[in-house]
Amino acid sequence: MTVTTAPDAPLLQVGTLTKTFGGFTALDNISVDIRKGERFGLIGPNGSGKTTLINCISGALRPQTGSVVFCGEDITQLPPHLRARRGIARSFQIPRPFKSMTVLENLMVGLDFATVGSSLPEEDVAMSILTRMGLAAKAGAPTDTLSQVELRKMELARAMAVRPKLLISDEAMAGLSSSEVDEVLDLLISLGEEDITIIMIEHIMQAVMRFSERVMCLDAGKIIAIGAPAEVMANKRVQEAYLGT
């Protein structure tokens, strides 16, 4: 476990992960390494296991077999909040804001519990993240007054309040207009430039192509292709999976 300091050591190592629900195999022997600072796209048809995989990484689910190693530490058995403290943050496919709080307070939760020792007052840190995300004007707004795109941004901002090393974005662009998609995409790319590793689950292919350095495609719980975006898109099995033939 001393390899953590090596510059090219993977940030996240998923090893032979299997997750079943009753008789249904959602993830079948998945192994993948994600490099530090990588922008990683995760695609696949509905029900292919994408969300199950990130649930296993973020700790919402425990796999039957296999391991999740983060920064050289085996975190397979850790509860989600301890993973958040180690630097894994996520957004949800269907936004799950803390409804009784304002936007700023949503971020304060992460700052209160996941981040340790900052010299700046928490509220200033939260405001700077919101400014970054273009949500500063909404800091005092209750979350039920936000538009869809603002909710998506709020979820990413709340994830950023955890000060993540790894940010997992679960279909943060679903249901947005094309200009809004670009807006969120630009945000994600700019976050990637500050040394945050990002896993992006997405159905919008242009977004995946523009964002990802590497793409992995899942189908029925198995990896059917992994590599450069253009390569994966050209893969026959990927096309079949998507066209449903």
């Binding site: 909040h81 799950r96 803390f98 009784s100 709080m101 307070e105 509220e123």
Partner: protein
């Protein structure tokens, strides 16, 4: 700045309240106001204690009567065995209540809310059954208690109990206010809104729920401890009466749980109405009013009285007095 000023205002208010209560016991001759006032204070403390888990964390405890009854019988058993003074009885009750809260919490707080609620009812019935079969404290028939001589500066035991209960109210409110303004409060609020999202944002949800359950349980049992001396009598079916559960829950939700003042308001309003109705009409009508008010409020005014007073009421970072 404002936070600091609020704290000064709060503790000044507490000091004035306690001085007022103490001088009342010295000036007023008639014992009746203290008899009635004791019950209202008891409900304020219970409602505030309930709201720590039920309001902040959103886990509905139907077992207020279990914790209350355990408090009563800890005091009874201790008094009968050793003749321990009231303060020791209360402290012991708090310790037992906290242990019980830990046990129940560990058993059920991993599950969805409704299971926790049902488990708390189960707990109350089981403990009541044990006490009914416990000869030392009188079993189902109950037990008579002889009050020890009253201590200075009080001239009657009821007045002293009134003051003691006022102190318990202050302790309960102080703790609730502290939790609300601390990060524990924010964590509880987050997990009430969305448990998974809270976990993924770094909130140790199980730990916080356990802490809330233990504190809430300790307070409820402490509030129950003086009840035996108040009535000079204890029996299982009144110590474990379900009315305590409905009252604590209803007063909390009717007052509003976003701020500690909510349960206090709810308990003062309903507690005094109850005292009035129970004396003038009947105790059945009084429970009926409680039930109807509860249903009306959860349906029509989800944020309770404080929500009606301030339409967009929100728990804020800085906290209010």
């Amino acid at each position: 700045m404002t936070k600091h000023r609020n704290s000064i205002a709060f503790w000044a208010g507490v000091a004035i309240f306690l001085v007022a209560v103490l001088s009342m016991t010295q000036i007023v001759r008639n014992e009746y106001p203290f008899f009635a006032g004791y019950v209202i204070l008891q409900f304020i403390a219970l409602a505030v204690a309930w709201s720590i888990l039920g309001g902040y964390a959103g886990y509905v405890n139907f077992g207020t009567n279990a914790f209350f009854g355990v408090g009563v019988y800890t005091a009874v058993a201790l008094f009968k065995a050793t003749g321990a003074p009231l303060v020791v009885q209360i402290a012991a009750a708090a310790a037992v209540g906290m242990t019980l809260g830990f046990g129940v919490g560990l058993l059920t707080l991993r599950m969805r809310g409704i299971f926790f609620s049902i488990a708390t009812i189960a707990l109350a019935i089981i403990i009541e059954t044990f006490v009914m079969n416990w000869r030392f404290v009188g079993g189902a028939a109950g037990i008579q208690l002889q009050r020890p001589p009253v201590m200075a500066p009080f001239d009657s035991y009821v007045k002293m109990l009134f003051f003691v209960q006022a102190v318990l109210v202050v302790i309960a409110v102080g703790i609730a206010r502290y939790i609300q303004n601390s990060r524990i409060g924010r964590g509880l609020q987050a997990l009430r809104d969305d448990e998974l999202a809270a976990e993924c944002t770094g909130v140790p949800t199980l730990k916080l729920k356990l802490v809330a359950c233990m504190i809430s349980g300790a307070l409820m049992s402490a509030v129950g401890a003086p009840a035996a001396m108040y009535l000079q009598y204890a029996d299982p079916s009144s110590a474990f009466n379900l009315t305590y559960s409905v009252s604590a829950l209803a007063m909390s939700l009717i007052g509003g749980t976003a701020h500690w003042i909510g349960p206090v308001l709810g308990a003062i309003l309903l507690g005094s109405t109850q005292q009035f109705l129970a004396v003038t009409i009947s105790s059945e009508i009084n429970v009926l009013v409680l039930g109807i008010m509860l249903v009306l409020f959860v349906v029509a005014a989800p944020k309770g009285i404080i929500g009606l007073l301030r339409p967009r009421y929100r728990l804020r970072a800085g906290g209010k007095p």
